[in-house]
Amino acid sequence: MNEFLLILISTVLVNNFVLVQFLGLCPFMGVSNKLETAMGMSLATTFVLTLASVCSYLVYRYLLLPFDITWLRTISFILVIAVVVQFTEMVVHKTSPLLHKLLGIFLPLITTNCAVLGVALLNIQKQNNFIESIAYGFGAAAGFSMALVLFSALRERIAVADVPVTFRGAAIGMVTAGLMSLAFMGFTGLVRV
């Protein structure tokens, strides 16, 4: 139990995927203009990330390791992820067109969210077991979601602020993300790894 708590604290706060590890930045910048969309994206990403974590673990453990072809891990993981995402996308498209449109081009782009492949690769690097992999994937997604949701609420406030023209939009978004990252540095050391 303690172990999982540590993994969660570590992935959500200390080594936040977005703000400290730099994974999943494109959706972080792209889908954070509106809190509502951000929440949708968070849910989608949480789902995909956890699932990808599981699938990639299974593929690695039961296909790649036994045949000693671990150097195929990138391509096989990304294939798994792409299929999972595409499948999700088809289902969402059919069942909830609004959600589908809200997430716009980003649902297919979850495939190319670094966080998803990143979590799969880091699971191997950290030699996590099955349960740990799930916890790690979920923690990473939770960290991503938290950062995304807070950031989008913040951006909504900035949207009505009197930001100089040159900085309006992406530039001030980046600066804000930087200050967020600065704030998250406060968590350094909570969990020692």
């Binding site: 509502e36 913040l154 900035i158 602020a161 009197d162 100089p164 900085f167 704030a183 540095m185």
Partner: protein
Amino acid sequence: MALIHLSSPHVSKANATDRVMRLVLLATLPALLALTFFFGWGSLIQLCLAATSALLFEAVCLRLRKRPILFFLRDGSALVTAILLALAIPPFAPWWVVVIGSFTAIVIAKHLYGGLGNNPFNPAMVAYALLLISFPVEMTQWNAPFVLIGDSWKALASFPESLMIIFSGVNHHLIDAYTGATPLEVLKHRGGMTTEEVWRNVPVLSDGVFAWYGISAAWLMGGVFLIYRKVITWHAPFAMISILFLLSSLFYAGDPSNFADPFVHIGVGATMMCAFFIATDPVSCATSNRGKIVFGIGVGALIYIIRTWGSFPDAAAFAILLMNLAAPFIDHYTQPRSYGHRRANRGIGGGR
């Protein structure tokens, strides 16, 4: 005769933002005196430096943004930021530290977002956090209060000496003579001692803690003054201090040898300053009264967590920044119940 379309109301209370800021400035006076009393001329010099550079940067930004300079300089917000920053950094930090700090606070944290009222993060704390991670050496060298190094105020660096330390920085032996760890640092890196042993054996705590208590009391005085003058409300400070007290008491009661006692958490370090002057910064705090309570609780809890398990002995700046970034989100969920509504409009709904 009057203009048309002049909207009501046609009268207003004699009240102005600059007056609010002046009151805040006034309220920092006790703490400034206390700091000078215990630590020497350093704080005063830092303050002058910070104020000058902050006003300068503010003027430059206003100029670049083609705003009327005097009109905005008069509102005094840059001065408040400068003073809080100056009083937060070690009194004998080199001059460029405080100048870089003012630059960060005024240019990056404030004017990139559109100036007064628009910044989501507390400028002074952004500057402090940035300085802390960029120049940990300079930012952790607090000098010892005079009660530790001599028996009178004379033991501290004289005014010219202070100037020399801050501006030339060459006088390393001078610095070394004065610097020491702060109580929170000592308690954090206690090297195996129990809390009680630290209190008994380390002079900063056994003899010098009164300096910190005195400074905290001074901040508290200023804070009470601000509440009395209705510049701030009690919500955030009260929530923050009580949650900090609660957490530290609980853990201390559970394991008195490993956790610092509540008096340290409340009375030492930047707690009081943070509670009354920083967590109450209207611009970057949550909006409603309920939101301010949530904000305060968050700051208090984060301060405790980071102080106890994290890497930074005094966590106020990071706690504030973290809650700053959560403030808009808190606002979404703490909207008060308006007249005639059964429930408050919580959550998102701003979309459509």
